[in-house]
């Protein structure tokens, strides 16, 4: 194939009008390395495509797939972390909705009351609250005894007197120490005399 034919094919190539066969011819031609400089761009492109065709998945890829299809590595969906993530989320939402549904149904006023009934309910509630408050006051009474504890702790104020006594003891001890010093001077005197 001469260079003129190659140039025509190249133009067709960029218009997307070449057949797979013609593109193969172009690739083979430029792979020879014998082409004019102004055709460097298409030569580089086709060279790149030729190299890219050799790209392969990593070596152990086939093994991975075979292990998977032979069942050794098939992980059931429920052992998948994502499954548990969604499962707990969905379970919690359902629980929440169910609880909410029943609770709200219990609290919904599903009938209206007559004036007499409401009056009765009011009195009943008052009676109950009064009973509770009476029992509460009775229960609280023993807590008054706490005041006695306060009075008794006043005695502890006497501790300061104990402190005063201690300082007196301290000054007396100091006096004894200075006395001891004098006595040690006497012992020096003894050493000089002895020989």
């Amino acid at each position: 194939m001469n260079i003129e034919e190659i140039k025509i094919l190249t133009e067709k190539y960029f218009e997307g009008l070449t057949s797979v066969e013609e593109e193969r011819q172009l690739k083979d031609f430029f792979a020879s390395g014998d082409f004019p400089d102004e055709m460097k761009s298409i030569a580089s492109m086709l060279g790149y495509f030729e190299i890219e065709k050799e790209v392969t998945a990593s070596e152990d890829f086939s093994h991975k797939v075979i292990r998977q299809i032979e069942g050794e590595q098939v992980i059931p969906y429920y052992q998948n972390r994502r499954f548990w993530f969604y499962f707990t989320g969905i379970a919690a939402s359902i629980l929440f909705l169910v609880t909410f549904f029943f609770e709200s149904r219990n609290h919904l006023p599903n009938k209206s009351y007559t004036a007499k009934e409401t009056q009765l309910a009011y009195l009943q509630t008052r009676k109950t609250l009064a009973f509770v408050s009476e029992k509460f006051n009775k229960g609280v009474k023993p807590l008054n005894e706490i005041g006695k504890i306060e009075r008794n702790t006043e005695v502890l104020g006497q501790i300061s007197k104990f402190n005063q006594g201690l300082t007196q003891v301290n000054t007396n001890v100091l006096k004894i120490e200075s006395g001891m010093d004098d006595i040690s001077k006497l012992s020096k005197f003894n050493i000089i005399i002895e020989p």
Partner: protein, 168 residues
């Protein structure tokens, strides 16, 4: 289909699928993960596979869809343009070595094209599929594929020429 038949007839298309996934996702590990899932799906439907005219085309459809879904999912972080490494060692004339220098450039240029153009370039220029096959996989008409392919090829050429002019 038995395991042995699956290994013989389906597994060999792994590299082609991997290259397509890599072209779309631009990440080797992500691509292998997707392809592994593709094979698992093919295996699950092994009884139906006989009904397809081309298992390869069917696998490419699944691959393409899974990759595009992955890109659309909000958890997906778009991969950086990875450094391109030549997979084969060339012992060739000086001009071919110059081409090799251009190659990582071209890779970057192509990865910057819109997804559809990238997919079509991969199927046609790298895998050398016929337009009819590509049209079947992408569910597009022949003319739309031609137009997209031509646009992609011209963009690559223009960018390359710009770069060459800048260099000299």
């Amino acid at each position: 289909m038995t395991t042995e038949e699956f290994k013989k007839r389906v597994l060999p298309i792994k590299d082609k699928l991997f290259r397509l996934a890599r072209r779309i996702l631009n990440d080797v590990e992500e691509s292998e993960d997707v392809i592994q899932e593709v094979f698992y799906r093919l295996w699950v439907r092994k009884e139906e596979l006989e009904n397809y005219r081309s298992i390869e085309a069917f696998a490419m459809v699944i691959t393409k869809n899974m990759c595009l879904d992955k890109i659309k999912s909000k958890h997906y972080q778009k991969a950086e343009l990875a450094e391109w490494n030549a997979p084969v060692d060339y012992h060739s004339p000086q001009k071919i070595i110059e081409i090799k220098e251009d190659v990582s450039n071209i890779h970057r240029l192509i990865q910057q094209l819109p997804e559809l153009q990238r997919i079509i370039v991969q199927m046609r220029d790298v895998e050398e599929l016929e337009f009819e096959e590509i049209a079947g996989i992408l569910q597009m008409n022949l003319n739309a594929i031609r137009v997209n392919l031509s646009r992609a090829r011209k963009t690559i050429r223009e960018q390359l020429i710009k770069k060459h002019e800048y260099e000299y």
